[in-house]
């Protein structure tokens, strides 16, 4: 069956070995899905014009919610009426994105009935993104979502955004914290902040189970929770010898699964950033007090080395993409914190941080920018955190210290009389 619009340019993207979104959408369009037909037409027009054909609209969600829906309208409804209104719905994903086919089919049924059938699995923040529906479908969709699927909307706008974590302990031997539980718990605890805006701008939590940071928490979350340990790397000396002897493939096969000679000095010891390891031909020795837990040795010899057992999280804050003050990575503010349910100590910290940011943050200022403007010292003080050399890569090298008068004997007052008794004018 011929589709409504010819798409010679898009058709070029049906070629090649990588999966083609064009073939995928055309398949749906061919079943009579009018929205997909017009979406293809609009996309083809963009390919021709090299410009987008979408406009923004200010709708935000369903009744009582201040987020979860992004309003979208085509700027050529005359040509493509099927996508004249084409709003996005963000659905909060289950932690670490495990599904059964049963729940996925329910999502598909819901979205085929109430929208375009196009999705993102998943959006950048982690939500299930349903692309393209009309305003009149939003409330019924939300009703079905909450009643039939037991699911809810995710965040958008000046809300806490949908938290996201790596798969953690469910299938990773390196995870030092239960990222899924942490993310689920934060999401549930702060539903109001997720659904009803109160912040100066967006606020993101991300949790990674180890310093490999598979969800990029350190680069893209206002509060990054990264698993770590403070005792010793666990060593199975026999397995170390097996790697050295070429019996096990190094790097868990990540660099090729074929058996090959393995030079432990070159591939592990010399690449250790703190040179805290030694190999005497029989045993591996690690000076754990010098280890900065970079994970390299563990990644290269996963059957021999494992993170320690006294585990918790390092908490860093303030990462963001460039708008406005330039990109920032998160900065370490809590070197180590135990992370066990119900995460009381962590939430106390979060609420102090939010109180301060809500009071002090300017509109559209991410936490990292507020900290930059008002100083890390101020942030640490309001969060009741003491200064620690672990928080800096180097102490300051400018001499402009803004002293607190409380720390100087007599504050900022001088005894003018006594001064003049010592010194003539």
């Amino acid at each position: 069956m011929a589709l409504k619009h010819a798409t010679p340019m898009l058709d070029e993207l049906e070629k090649g070995p990588w999966p083609s979104f064009v073939t995928d959408v055309k398949r749906l369009a061919a079943k009579g899905n009018k929205m997909c037909e017009d979406w293809l037409g609009l996309m083809e027009l963009s390919f021709k014009d090299k410009e987008t054909h979408w406009k923004h609209g200010g709708i935000v969600g369903v009744l009582g919610y201040g987020g979860g829906v992004i309003g979208r309208y085509a700027d050529r409804p005359d040509l493509f009426p099927g996508v004249a209104h084409f709003h996005t719905v963000r659905v909060n994903q289950p932690s670490a994105k495990y599904y059964t086919t049963d729940v996925l089919r329910k999502i598909c049924d819901l979205w085929d009935a109430r929208g375009s059938g196009l999705t993102n699995m998943h959006g950048s923040t982690g939500d299930i993104v349903l692309l393209g529906t009309t305003t009149d479908q939003l409330e019924p969709l939300f009703y079905d979502l909450t009643h039939d699927l037991g699911m809810d909307l995710g965040g958008s706008g000046s809300n806490m955004r949908t938290p996201e974590g790596c798969l953690g302990k469910s299938r990773c031997e390196w995870s030092c914290i239960d990222t899924q539980e942490i993310i689920h718990d934060i999401t549930m605890e702060y539903q109001d902040a997720l659904h009803r805006p109160m912040f100066p701008y967006k606020f993101k939590f991300k949790a990674s189970g180890c310093p490999c940071d598979c969800v990029a928490a350190i680069a893209r979350s206002d509060c990054s929770i990264i698993g770590t340990w403070r005792d010793k790397i666990r060593i199975d000396q026999e397995a170390v010898r097996a790697y050295v002897g070429g019996e096990l493939s190094p790097h868990a096969g990540a660099g090729g699964t074929e058996k090959r000679a393995f030079d432990i000095k070159e591939e592990v010891l010399d690449l250790c950033p703190t040179r805290c390891m030694d190999w005497d031909g029989k045993n591996l020795k690690i000076w754990d007090e010098d280890c900065t837990r970079c994970m390299h040795c563990i990644r290269v010899m996963p059957r021999a080395l494992r993170p320690g057992v006294d585990t918790g999280a390092s908490i860093l804050v303030g990462a963001k993409a460039p708008i406005l003050e330039g990109a920032q990575l998160s900065s370490l503010v809590i070197p180590f914190m135990k992370m066990e349910p119900p995460f009381g100590e962590f939430k106390e910290f979060v609420e102090k941080m939010w109180d301060w940011w809500m009071e002090q943050g300017k509109n559209r200022e991410r936490l990292g920018e507020t900290i930059q403007r008002l100083t890390l010292r101020e942030f640490l003080k309001v969060c009741d955190l003491s200064a620690d050399p672990r928080m800096v890569s180097t102490p300051r090298y400018n001499p402009y210290i803004f002293y607190d008068p409380a720390d100087v004997p007599g504050g900022w007052e001088h005894d003018e009389k006594a001064f003049r008794e010592r010194h003539q004018a």
Binding site: D49, T88, R171
Partner: protein
């Protein structure tokens, strides 16, 4: 209970959050939660995780588009029902992981996936180029400078052999954001493809007072580049073009300030970023190519520049070196020399803290 459009509050459920994750676990994951001992990549895209109990779970990772239809999800469900007891997950990078509890079904699953044309490429593990994370582009965004799904498809077609193999020195993470708002953060990627606008918005004076609230438009500009201006008898605004940073915020507030432009907009490439703490700390991506014109439908110049960077890295880097580690070792002067990319004024930072990136030593390579 059914939806009643006349009474939205009837039986309304709110703030229930996502379903608890563990109800979707396959039994072997539930039983071995927190007990995993080690994993191994058996071949590109195929992993086994082994528990302290000796239990195993096999995973087959496949690439998909980020933009997928319910039809495709249903196909995925059919496969997962057949081989995985209905269990699967998505990764952060838009890959699907089929979770195989019954080892006898592993090979049949792999064979099945391979028999389905180009729908389900297996790979994305270890020292590969895994799936490109990206934003909406022309598919659904109102401020993109470039498309997203199109260039991603074109680049992945070209780098396909690196998705299903482990022949690179380390993993290479590529990301695409269609404008510098970066709703998908790309600033710490081995190779980042970033859309840039180069023309500030133009002002449709006769529309502004009808469709925009001028105080809000002025307030929306992060660099305070917009001022009120009367044009003839119309209330409008003027833009200090030299202060424009091309974020599109004003266009969001005021559709009479369009900034998209087929000639002004294009692609920039950034290299050497990473997020992991492995060996070296996380790094930002740095500018490699300031501007490549848009070339739908196959983006040939972008594709070949990305490939050139990747293959120069693959040829020059040592085992375990990420792109940024490699460049730090050889130096940027060598990077530009070896990759054949041009270095120009655009590469020299002139924003805040720019001097942190200038060379303050006599040490360099001729």
């Amino acid at each position: 209970m059914a939806f009643d459009p006349k009474n939205l509050m009837k039986d309304r459920i709110t703030d229930i959050g996502p379903p608890k994750f563990d109800q979707f676990f396959p039994p072997v994951i539930k039983e071995n939660f927190g007990k995993w001992k080690y994993h191994e990549i058996l071949e590109p895209g195929v992993l086994v995780h082994v528990s302290e109990s000796g239990a195993e779970i096999h995973t087959v990772r496949v690439g998909t588009g980020r933009l997928i239809s319910t039809d495709l999800i249903r196909d995925v469900c059919e496969i997962a029902d057949k081989y995985c007891g209905g269990h699967l997950r998505w990764t952060t990078r838009n890959n699907i992981e089929f979770l195989v509890s019954d080892k006898s079904k592993l090979q049949p699953l792999i064979d099945d996936l391979r028999s389905r044309g180009n729908w389900f490429p297996i790979g994305g593990t270890g020292n590969s180029v895994t799936n490109i994370v990206h934003t909406q582009g022309w598919a659904h965004c109102h401020t993109p400078a470039i498309d997203a799904s199109g260039p991603v498809k074109a680049v992945m077609d070209e780098l396909y052999e690196y998705f299903g193999s482990h022949k690179l020195p380390a993993q290479v993470r590529i990301a695409l954001a269609c404008c510098l708002n970066m709703c998908g953060a790309v600033h710490c990627s081995d190779i980042a493809i970033l859309g840039v606008h180069r023309k500030p918005p133009f002002v449709e004076h006769e529309r502004v007072q009808n469709v925009c609230e001028i105080p809000l438009v002025i307030a929306s500009c992060p660099t305070a580049a917009i001022k009120p201006k009367k044009v003839n008898d119309m209330k409008s605004v003027e833009i200090n073009n030299s202060r424009c940073m091309f974020c599109g915020n004003c266009y969001t507030m005021c559709p009479a300030l369009p900034l998209a432009n087929q000639d002004g907009d294009g692609i920039s490439l950034w290299v050497g970023g990473k997020v992991s703490n492995v060996i070296n700390p996380p790094m930002f991506s740095k500018l490699a190519v300031p501007f490549i014109p848009q070339e739908p439908p196959r983006w040939e110049s972008t594709v070949s520049a990305v490939k050139k960077i990747l293959e120069t890295y693959a040829a020059g880097a040592r085992r375990y070196e990420r792109v940024g580690d490699w460049i730090n070792r050889i130096g940027w002067e060598r990077f530009f020399e070896q990759s054949g990319l041009e270095f120009g004024y655009e590469h020299i930072d002139d924003y805040r803290l720019a001097m942190m990136t200038w060379r303050t030593t006599t040490q360099f390579k001729f």
